[in-house]
């Protein structure tokens, strides 16, 4: 799972046969044992194949915040696409070629007056088809508990201090929908092409705990 500022390739993480040594060499834990046992039973029972498991992990590794960033950059540069994204996030993402599966996506847009932030208080629902797997803090008790009560304090811990005249809209992913924030396009980016703009779109800016990077920062 790449972190912000490190959207590099998955060195050491390819499912092709040589990766993952570090975690393979530790003592076998009870739960790792259960994973192996459950997987082998599912294979023996014909529920899954080893190839399906490998393909699923490959697809998982291919889903990174770069996907979401491409969607945001398109929305910044193409007003018609932006309108379609805000109308139906899943359809607009599919239009860009991203396999969002059955995910039902709502895109919410930051403006001068509104800042959006995403949380899941009941578990850890996350737009994984566009952003990859969620970071640990997103699943933490602190983030899940406090974001719906004191969002400004939580955002401040992420280094984001919002002025009083900006309304904070918290979105609690309680049911079937998933959310992505379309951060505000930074000033000084006029004339930049879509690919360059996408490099400014951080994972956290699409969760709402950050904003897009300024050019040359």
């Amino acid at each position: 799972m790449p972190h912000d500022h490190h959207d590099h390739s998955h060195e050491g993480m390819s499912p092709s046969g040589h990766p993952y040594r570090a975690d393979q060499d530790g003592p076998l834990s009870y739960w790792q044992n259960m994973e192996i046992a459950v997987r082998e039973l599912l294979i023996e029972k014909g529920v899954v194949t080893p190839e399906q498991v490998a393909a699923q992990i490959e697809a998982m590794d291919a889903r990174t915040p770069a996907n979401g960033a491409a969607v945001v950059a398109r929305a910044w540069t193409d007003p018609a696409f932006r309108a379609r994204l805000l109308e139906d996030g899943s359809a607009a993402s599919r239009e860009m070629g991203f396999d969002v599966g059955p995910m039902k996506l709502i895109a919410v847009e930051n403006t001068e007056d509104v800042h959006n932030v995403i949380v899941c208080t009941l578990c850890s629902c996350y737009p994984r088809n566009l952003l990859g797997l969620p970071p640990d803090w997103y699943k933490s008790r602190a983030y899940r508990s406090r974001t719906v009560r004191e969002p400004r304090k939580v955002l401040s811990e992420f280094g984001l201090d919002l002025p009083d005249d900006v309304t904070v809209r918290v979105h609690d992913s309680t049911a079937d929908m998933r959310y992505i924030v379309v951060p505000a396009r930074p000033e000084g980016t006029e004339g930049m092409d879509e690919a360059t703009l996408a490099t400014l779109v951080t994972r956290d800016s699409m969760i709402g705990t950050g904003v897009a990077r300024l050019p040359n920062s």
């Binding site: 570090a22 192996i36 459950v38 508990s145």
Partner: protein, 111 residues
């Protein structure tokens, strides 16, 4: 909780600062995630069933087990309930896995 609110339903609770640390997922964790998607996709349980068993495991499990440790426990619970394999089959398989070696690599690669 005497008011009936369950432990996982934590929106609005007081809590400390949001932790900043992150970790990359290990192969076994990714496999757990893949098994969830594939087995639920095959219709043997639902994402709500996954959550239901996670919730029923209680707060102690949330505090003491890692995310994917809880997931494999819940996936197993749902698969047992769905009759995909028996508890006896699982017990025998886990014994077999243990006997293969002391590390995840040794135990997983012997299949």
């Amino acid at each position: 909780m005497t008011d009936g609110r369950r432990w996982h339903d934590m929106g609005g609770d007081a809590a400390g600062p949001v932790p900043g640390d992150e970790h990359d997922f290990a192969l076994w964790e990714k496999r757990v995630d893949a098994l969830m998607i594939l087995a639920s996709g095959a219709g043997h349980f639902t994402v709500d069933g996954l959550r239901r068993a996670l919730e029923d495991m209680g707060e102690k499990a949330f505090e003491e087990m890692t995310y994917y440790e809880r997931w494999i426990a819940s996936i197993n619970q749902n698969l047992i309930e769905a009759g995909i394999y028996s508890i006896e089959e699982l017990g025998a398989k886990m014994e077999e896995v243990s006997a293969r070696g002391d590390t995840y690599g040794e135990a997983a690669d012997a299949s």
